[in-house]
């Protein structure tokens, strides 16, 4: 009897130790790079290249953040404009992207018509097309139409790059609702629009919010497309601004590190807020049940 109890406690301890080890590795690998970048961002520039064995700086300075968050300084002005531009692009992409993917997903998942499978597959396969394959004709189109440095058209290009993914997630989600639900509503005199608004929409907010988060993160991260289509100060997003800090003639690592930390802040915040919906959205969205 005592032996069994003893063994039970032992497995419990073993389990606990195993979990704590996993937790430690997980935290170290996930947060490590962020922490190191933060340490660099508060290390004075002169201490950066010193061959000291210590990892932590002897003095801490927040000058980099002060400079970057003041709009009057040249670099601060650049970064703040870049963040503003990224926010503008996110807003435009969400207002355009969410309705278009909802409409497409609804049609592809809940209506019967000729060529449905073909259209669905054609849309999905565009996921493998790299940006580089469309950028030269797009550049020429943008020059001809004078769309260069226009946030609206720029955001449309972003939307076209993740429309397949969001549509696919949404259409799998919509497909889980029983057809009878809508039919009953139709018999009760609901039109197509009102049955969509009253039945499908209220039940779909997890997947809509998940799609919004995916669009937010992807728009915020854009680099290759704006590199070619939006090089002016008025449209350049934050990732490009940070990359310029890295390549400008006098590289200031601390400043670049601080800019990187600032650039991660808004999407990280969005991810924190929306994560509740992500799992429930994905549960029905990623595999047809």
């Amino acid at each position: 009897m005592l032996k069994i109890q003893h063994e039970r406690i032992l497995t419990k301890v073993r389990k606990k130790v195993g979990y704590l080890t996993a937790l430690l590795i997980f935290l170290l690998l996930t947060l490590g790079p962020f922490l190191w970048t933060f340490i660099l961002s508060v290390t004075p520039e002169y201490a950066m290249l010193e061959k000291t064995p210590g990892l932590l700086p002897e003095t801490v300075t927040f000058d980099n953040y002060r400079e970057l968050l003041t709009a009057d300084t040249p670099r601060g002005g650049l970064l703040i404009t870049g963040i503003g531009n990224a926010i503008k692009a996110v807003c435009a992409a969400l207002t355009l992207g969410i309705p278009v993917s909802m409409l497409t997903a609804y049609t592809l998942s809940r209506m019967e018509f000729c060529g449905r499978r073909l259209i669905r597959n054609l849309l999905l396969i565009t996921m493998v097309i790299p940006v580089m394959a469309t950028i030269i004709p797009l550049y020429r189109l943008f020059v001809a139409r004078q769309w260069l440095n226009d946030v609206f058209w720029l955001s449309m290009v972003y939307v076209s790059s993740y429309l397949p993914l969001t549509t696919w997630l949404m259409s799998n989600y919509f497909a889980t609702f029983p057809k009878e639900l809508e039919e009953a509503a139709r018999i009760d005199g609901c039109g197509l629009l009102s049955s969509f608004l009253r039945i499908i929409l209220p039940a779909s907010y997890p997947i809509i919010l998940s799609a919004a988060l995916i669009m937010f993160l992807n728009t915020w991260s854009q680099f290759q497309i704006p590199l070619i289509l939006a090089s002016s100060l008025e449209t350049k997003p934050v990732a490009i601004v940070v990359s310029e800090f890295m390549t400008k003639d006098s590289i200031q690592y601390g400043l670049t590190a601080a800019a990187g930390i600032i650039a991660v802040f808004p999407p990280a915040l969005a991810a924190l807020v929306f994560r509740r919906f992500l799992i429930s959205g994905m549960m029905n969205g990623s595999v047809k049940g």
Partner: protein, 291 residues
């Protein structure tokens, strides 16, 4: 009239999508294909003409193509392996319920929120020779006297690029797998336990097979990411040939050597490569699960 309207309605609802994709994706890739059949160098702008498949054949004969093709293959294999294995393990870890589960999930998602270019910079701070974290540790522990140049050899650079890209793509896979794990009905486990299954058989007979479709989504999304790696390579090693994959090669051909014809042909080879994988992608996306 009513029947006609009903038949046309789906197409009408799809119009916005068809317009967006038509103008911004299908028109450009058709145009790119026609460019790829032309001799078109900005260095001699007067001389643009049709040359058939010559761009393709000259690419296939060049060493630099095979070099960057190998790099692409290496990154693809490493990223897919790392992302699927670590992503799966992370999802199992995140599924364990503890007081701080919500916070752990939030932390797990952080790398996903990172712009790929900034991701490259973050890791450059780790691997850089002068101020890099790894060198401080290596020198601090007395393992090396001199700073190690981690990013100067091809193999090390490719390995680091793969690690860095996986780090960013693991959260999505972990999330999809976690959703998969959570949608397995608890009753299945109870039944298995009553039938006397031990932990290993339960994992092998229930958890693994029911999560496989979700892992497949992770694998396919990781492979699309891996083929399209660009930002991280640029951030870690700049616009040079050492770690160049097909996309960097195509960027350099197009914008440094200003050979639009050849650059377009290169991107088409990437698409071809991607479409082969894409077939697998579509298959796994149309799969159904029965619990």
């Amino acid at each position: 009239m009513n029947i006609l309207r009903k038949k046309l309605l789906p197409y009408l609802l799809l119009t916005p999508m068809i317009l967006v994709m038509g103008v911004l994706v299908f028109y450009p890739i058709t145009a790119t294909f026609s460019y790829s059949l032309k001799r078109w160098k900005l260095t001699s702008p007067g001389d643009i003409h049709f040359i058939g498949l010559q761009n393709y054949s000259s690419i296939l004969e060049s060493d630099s193509f095979w070099y960057s093709f190998q790099n692409t293959l290496f990154i693809l294999t490493a990223v897919v392996l790392l992302t699927s294995v670590v992503g799966f393990l992370t999802s199992i870890f995140l599924h364990i319920e503890v007081k701080w589960s919500g916070i752990l999930l939030a932390i797990a998602m952080l790398p996903w929120a990172l712009p790929p270019y900034v991701n490259g910079i973050l890791w450059k701070f780790v691997f850089s020779s002068g101020y890099g974290f790894l060198n401080k540790v290596v020198i601090g522990l007395g393992l090396a006297g001199q700073p190690v140049e981690w990013l100067n050899s091809r193999r090390a650079l490719l390995l680091i690029v793969s690690l860095v890209v996986s780090w960013r793509s693991i959260p999505f896979t972990a999330l999809v797998c976690l959703a998969g794990r959570q949608s397995i009905p608890g009753g299945l486990y109870e039944a298995a336990r009553i039938d006397g299954g031990n932990r290993y058989t339960i994992f092998r007979r229930i958890t693994l097979p029911l999560m496989l479709p979700f892992v497949a989504i992770g694998i396919t999304s990781a492979s699309v990411t891996a083929i399209n790696v660009f930002d991280e390579i640029i951030a870690l090693s700049g616009y040079n040939d050492l770690g160049a994959n097909l996309l960097v090669e195509s960027y350099l051909t197009t914008f440094s050597f200003l050979d639009f014809g050849k650059g377009s042909a290169l991107t088409y080879l990437v698409i071809l490569f991607g479409t082969v994988l894409g077939g697998f992608y579509l298959r796994s996306m149309n799969k159904e699960v029965d619990y």
